[in-house]
Symmetry: C2
């Protein structure tokens, strides 16, 4: 009887999990070789599947790209919500958040993709708007820091662009098996970001 409820739930859950695995694998491929240099067939093979199987989990290749973007921004949002207003000064708040974001991006294959142009219409608008909202929130923190004196005065947006570049550039060089591990990168990056803007 509990089965009547649990079973279909488990099915959906499994389906969801597999779908997630597909998106993850695709995201990793996109990050390494780029969206257009990764074919659905190749992505499927990575997972030991055939192309058609992929289409059982996703509607289109573009949907995968969309989900990849959204997934990261969801994680970003969560991170912001969790760590916002946890510190006294704007500078401290920003430091915590920045550090967490670096850790996020060096963990479990979440990566900030840059190919937004390959999304069409609504999706593209969506993603850009999500990015915009996040940037705006971060910019607010910076402005708060400028107000409370913890951050040197200047163009807040420009300040944000600078260190957001560091996050986005991570994709280009970071290798999970490389010399530098996530925590170390987070620590050094945060120190550099902090010193760069401290008031």
């Amino acid at each position: 009887m509990s089965a009547q409820i649990k079973e279909p739930f488990d099915r959906k859950k499994q389906h969801g999990n597999k779908r997630l695995a597909v998106i993850r694998a695709a995201g990793e491929a996109f990050r390494r070789r780029g969206y257009h240099n990764s074919s659905m067939t190749e992505i499927a093979q990575t997972l030991g599947l055939t192309k058609t199987a992929l289409y059982y989990y996703v509607k289109s290749k573009e949907e995968i790209l969309y989900e990849c973007h959204i997934m990261v921004y969801d994680a970003f949002d969560e991170c912001l919500l969790e760590h916002m207003a946890a510190a006294e000064t704007g500078l401290n708040e920003l430091s915590i958040i920045f550090s967490e974001l670096v850790k996020l991006l060096t963990r479990d294959g979440l990566s900030l993709l840059t190919d937004v142009s390959s999304l069409s219409g609504e999706s593209q608008k969506d993603v850009l708007s999500r990015r915009g909202v996040i940037e705006a929130r971060v910019t607010n923190i910076v402005e708060r820091g400028m107000a409370d004196g913890s951050i040197r005065k200047g163009d807040a947006q420009l300040t944000v662009f600078f260190f957001m570049g560091a996050l986005n550039w991570l994709n280009a060089w970071y290798a999970p098996e490389g010399r530098l591990d996530g925590d170390m990168i987070a620590a050094e990056f945060t120190a550099q970001m902090r010193a760069g803007i401290a008031g």
Copy 2:
């Protein structure tokens, strides 16, 4: 008689100029919509030409992408050569160079593309090696700065990755007609970079 020498020279020169215009226009398209979202036909139309005309100037689309990359790195090299060892401390030298690089990237449509994966074999190796050499040179300057005490000690490569991100991210947001002009960006970015690493 002087014509016998000048004429063919002028022809080649004109051909070269047009070729350059093609690469510039394509580079701009690549920067805005990405390599794979820019068709040769569209690029040609931008210049008021037809596709075949393009192939009179370049061998292939990939060659254009290659040239775009090389062109920027040539400019980078020139910038490095011109401004290296012009300052006493590593920090000062780096500041000058960084500022010049920002100005370079906000000038005449030179932009740092990220799509290296769409280059095949040799070209890709070439471009990555060029990038590597430049990064290595910058890293050397940072190490010199760490040695002379002008730059805070730490992992030099990581330090470089951080602010190189700012340069690469420029493409994503910089708009020539926007609120922020090149000189202003260069000034603020350099200040932020400098404060971030000063010893």
